[in-house]
């Protein structure tokens, strides 16, 4: 296009252009003379618009240029550009006529070197640390025995395989729930963060393991993204981070409640060893058994003391029988705990009922009384043991009385009293013989 053609004919040699014309000329000049090219600079004023378009300034010490990276082009970025980051961009210079500015229309962007990624890592780490995301007080304790574990990782690859293998070997009853995600590249960080939030909404897992296998810094980069860090921090379900190998430490590792150096290590941290737990429980069962046997032995000793202090003969036999049974039961207690226990209980119940029956205070409570001859302390079992004027002591359930025999009424053969007892206190009947042989009749003398 020839500018001369547009000049109005009636002007003199001065060239007067409209703004649009001038701008159009500038646009043409710039856009045709500058091909697509690579530029290196430092990002500042970075804005990621809600529209998805990215606007930023690329600068060095002496100059700067406006940049735009449209949504359709920036979706492929594996990292989030940050102010201060040095990057390499590829694009074309364009003129935005409406605003009279020139800008770089960016087609590709990458960190200027590994150093740049490292820098971005350090900057984000410092920023999040200052916000308190790494603080110990925010770390949640892991459940001692999770019943259901959520795993966020790639559905293929070594990480998921190792996790499942070790988890199931160590603790077979644990349930595993997988939310498969991409662990590198475009959108991976967003997927990972969304999966963490999903599990928190689902709610029915006790623990989360988030991670991936080894790789380069770029490969692992998703786990250094802020969106993942915040999702982990938000999670009310405890999170174990297992990103890469031992030497790889990601920001996810710092925010997580526990960091595992490898997926296998994560599995070992997550669940206890079942065999070990079984051993512990068997130990406890053994101790309990021994302790109860000891208690039974003590009780048996107590029983023995009881029977000797009451001096009953016949009841002794019963006690012996029962206590022998207790013996047998307690020795074979380890065969079938609850069956034995039932028998034992039965034996003890029976025994204690028996004892209660034999217990003289129970008898006394029923109204019976015990009569002792005071001269020698003998327990009187039949009237025949007493003579007139014997001093007796009668024990009741509560208290006792002292008395003197004023009449002795033996039993007849038929079990009926020979005559009714006399109630006259002062009258005394002398008997030729105060001895009655026993219930089978008296022998007159």
């Amino acid at each position: 296009m020839d500018f001369e053609d547009t000049l109005p004919a009636d002007h003199d040699n001065r060239e007067v252009l409209s703004v649009s014309d001038l701008t159009r000329a500038i646009k043409w000049t710039l856009e045709s003379s500058l091909p697509a090219l690579w530029v290196q600079g430092e990002i500042s004023n970075f804005k990621h618009h809600t529209s998805g378009h990215m606007y930023f300034v690329l600068k060095d010490d002496a100059a700067q240029i406006q940049c735009v990276m449209w949504r359709t082009r920036n979706g492929g970025l594996f990292f989030t550009p940050q102010d201060g980051m040095k990057v390499l961009v590829q694009g074309r210079v364009t003129v935005y006529e409406k605003r009279g500015i020139y800008q770089l229309d960016v087609h590709q962007m990458q960190p200027a070197g590994i150093g740049e990624l490292q820098l971005a890592f350090e900057q984000l780490k410092e920023r999040l640390r200052q916000e308190g995301l790494f603080d110990l007080e925010h770390k949640q304790p892991l459940p001692a025995l999770p019943s259901r574990i959520g795993i966020i990782t790639s559905p293929t690859g070594a990480a998921i395989r190792d996790l499942i293998t070790v988890l199931q070997r160590r603790f077979p009853p644990v349930e595993i729930v997988l939310s498969p995600v991409r662990v590198q590249g475009d959108g991976a960080a967003q997927e990972i963060a969304a999966a963490i939030d999903d599990f928190n909404r689902y709610g029915q897992v006790d623990l989360l393991i988030v991670g991936r296998g080894g790789g380069s810094l770029e490969d692992l980069w998703a786990f250094n993204e802020e969106v993942v860090a915040r999702a982990i921090f938000r999670s009310t379900i405890p999170v174990i981070a297992a990103v890469g190998h031992e030497v790889d430490v990601s920001i996810a590792d710092f925010v997580a409640d526990v960091r595992a150096p490898t997926p296998s290590a994560a599995a070992e941290i997550a669940v206890p060893d079942r065999d070990e737990l079984n051993r512990q429980i068997n130990q406890l069962a053994l101790k309990a058994h021994r302790a109860v046997e000891g208690t039974i032995e003590t009780a048996w000793q107590h029983l023995k003391r009881l029977e000797s202090s009451y001096g009953y003969r016949r009841p002794l036999d019963i006690i012996f029988q029962y206590s022998q049974r207790v013996d047998e039961l307690s020795r074979s207690l380890n065969k079938s705990a609850s069956h034995r226990l039932a028998l034992l209980r039965e034996a003890v119940d029976g025994l204690s009922k028996r004892l209660q029956g034999l217990d003289h205070t129970a008898i006394l409570r029923r109204g019976y009384s015990l009569c002792y001859r005071r001269s020698d302390g003998t327990l009187v079992r039949s009237a025949a043991q007493l003579e007139l004027e014997d001093e007796i002591e009668v024990h009741f359930h509560k208290g006792r009385v002292l008395g003197t025999v004023e009449d002795v009424v033996p039993e007849s053969a038929a079990g009926e009293p020979a005559r009714t007892p006399s109630k006259r206190k002062k009258q005394r009947r002398r008997q030729k013989s105060t001895r009655q042989l026993d219930v089978f009749g008296s022998e007159p003398e």
């Binding site: 077979p172 997988l178 939310s179 406890l284 109860v292 226990l341």
Partner: protein, 73 residues
């Protein structure tokens, strides 16, 4: 489930402690032992439960559900 196992194990240890102290009367000892036996049974059952499969977390319209996954490795 997790809470129940943990608290069962804790209670079992408590009971063993009580029994070993020997200060309980016979009746209580037997009761405690009985409870201990039950706890041992419960814990053992939980631990030796059959192996579970691996599931996928699947989003549905009104929430989530689990779907069996196939990880035979």
């Amino acid at each position: 489930m997790e809470q129940k196992f943990e608290s069962a194990l804790k209670r079992l240890e408590e009971i063993v402690g009580l029994l070993e102290k020997g200060e309980l009367p016979l009746e209580e000892s037997l009761k405690a032992f009985e409870e201990g036996v039950e706890l041992v049974r419960f814990c053992t059952a939980k631990l030796n439960d059959a192996e579970k499969r691996v599931n996928l977390l699947v989003k549905t319209e009104d929430g989530f559900k689990l779907q069996p996954a196939d990880f035979q490795e």
